[in-house]
Amino acid sequence: MIPTSHYLFLSLGLFTVGVIGVVTRRNVIIILMSIELMLNAVNINLVAFSRLVGSAEGHAFAIFIITDAAAEAAVGLGIIIAFFRNRETLLGDEMDLLKW
Amino acid sequence: MYWVPLVCALVIVAVLPLVAGYIVLMERKVMADMQARLGPMRVGPHGLLQPIADAVKLLLKEDIIPDEADKAIFWIAPLVSVTAGMLAMSALAIGPWFQIADLNIGLLFIVGISALGIFGIVLGGWSSNSHYSLLGALRSAAQLVSYETAAGMAIVGGLLLAGTLSTRDIIAAQNDYGVWFVFAAPVGFFIYVVASIAETNRAPFDLPEAESELVAGYMTEYSGFRWALYFLAEYTNMVVVASIATTLFLGGWLRPFAGTPALNFLDFVPSALMLGVAGYCFYRAPKQPVQVQKMVLGAVGGLIILVALILLAPLVAPSGTFVAGMKAGLHGAFWFLLKVGLYIYLFMWLRFTFPRYRFDQLMRLGWQFLIPLSIVNVMGIGLALVLHREFGWSHWTAFPLTTILTLGVAGLLGAAGEKQEKAHAIVGEEEA
């Protein structure tokens, strides 16, 4: 029997790696992928607690998060494609049209 | 009995490549038959050893890797396809005794894992570093993703009737209903047949890998054994898709009319079929040109008679003995494999009958016809079940009624699609 705290540590580790990816990398696609990692970490957390309590509400919440992640990935990639068509770049540093 | 799943897994991994090779031979023979010629006849008697010759040739070919290709991804892409296909076979129940894992999400597991084969295609096309490969891979992946939705909704239609996702319980539910689900949900079965043809990249939906279109699509730069792995993956996918249809719609391992004891003489059909095939082998044996082929054909006939006797044994043994108890396993496996074989024959029949779809026609068919139809199908089956359970209508009135309603909606969808096509054509002419 694996204690629930092990799942929490795993979830923390994945979340931290995801945060590092978002604040450190320049390529926006990798930033999006790190966001997906963070959402996954939260899912593990929810399902671990749902297993502890014995109800399925954590499962339902996790399904909503996966649905959300799908919607966000689709729209985010659409934005990236639209921006790429205009500026020919994939680096977050160079997407600075709103800078004064 | 912890070793039963292990033995089943070993049998599948060992036998599947051979079976895939013989399905290729069957396809060439069926193609030849529909084109009024004979097909491979030289290598063994009636070409029966052709797959072995093909396998040896492919193993001995030179292994070419394109220059700028990403070598790691090039190496791993066919493996992903084959792994996904074979892993999907682990939840299938070929007979009541032959199953690796009876998951309680069985059918969804098969659908989901075989969907992971898309990565093999996309990564293979990408790593070949060639325009044709990339285009073919992207087209193929787009087609698979589009028809996966329609196939999934068609499966949901059948699952509503079954009430469970486990493969064993679905077949038990068909036994309880007394009728296979193909008769209760024929529109769902039709949608699944069309979607599964597109899922496996077979004609008429095989634009991504047709020889005259994109050379060979994502398989262009693969030669020798890597290509054989892709081919194996494609035929494994065909077997998996046929097995899903057999489990969900065609009654799995149930004999036709499994519930009526009056028709128990149908239990002798497997042995009779095998004896017929053996008789044909013995009839053709003297007519072979070469002595060795005569002997091989005779040996094949003998083997088939052995199979027929094995199938006959549980029926004539006194009931209660171990031999009589093997009836369910042996006959179940036979009926399942026969139905899978008929489904694959249907695939081949359609391949050599219809011309190919253009890619935009293919996408239009998937998104604008099949998906709405499958959603309406789910609603129709739900309506039939509600009519049966809440209002007490009998099965024989509720299901035909909803089938007619669904077909009516399909007709409306088709008419709307044609009107839209004509409107687009008119607008196109005005602009031009």
């Binding site: 979340f15 990398r25 696609i29 996954n40 593990i44 297993r51 729209v75 | 990408w126």
Partner: protein, 168 residues
């Protein structure tokens, strides 16, 4: 015993894949490692007896979202991106802050795990099949979020189509 082996295998695979996602120069390799990380997470779900969530993760996340990512990466691939600088100019600050965040959370969980009044998990044999449990909960208590999620998907679909059109 088997439980522990499965958990540690999938946990190690997930962590290693996650670190590799964030550090690869080639975007396609990052995507492949993200697929392995997602499949490892699905394995963790399976180990937690959440079978429906396992297969939903495989079908939607690994078989849907990642296919979308790989498509986009292959369509807008830049050869020059292999030679650009990988990390942005303030990478050291981001790393320190992220590690501080991770350390805070770890300490919080480590201190709190013995103090929380969590009982023993429900034994696995007494759980209903996960699909039926999730179905019951999703269609009775959480019907409203379910419908809102479907509208969200519709909006996202329309948004993505509009974003990707050449002339609006």
């Amino acid at each position: 015993m088997l439980d522990q082996i499965v958990f540690y295998f999938f946990a190690t695979l997930a962590m290693i894949s996650a670190v590799l996602v964030v550090t690869r120069r080639n975007v396609v390799q990052s995507a492949i490692f993200l697929i392995t990380a997602l499949l490892a997470t699905a394995g963790i779900f399976l180990q937690l007896h959440a079978e429906f969530l396992f297969i939903v993760q495989v079908i939607l996340y690994a078989g849907g979202i990642m296919v979308l990512f790989v498509f986009v990466i292959m369509l807008i691939n830049l050869d020059v991106s292999l030679h650009q600088v990988q990390f942005n100019r303030q990478w050291w600050l981001g790393l320190v802050l992220a590690l501080v965040l991770g350390a805070q959370l770890t300490v919080a969980v480590a201190i709190g795990r013995s103090g929380l009044p969590l009982g023993e998990p429900v034994p696995a044999a007494m759980l209903e099949p996960s699909t039926e449990l999730v179905g019951k909960v999703l269609f009775s208590e959480y019907m409203l979020p379910f419908e809102i999620a479907s509208i969200l998907l519709l909006v996202a679909m329309i948004g993505a189509v509009v974003m990707a059109k050449k002339k609006v």
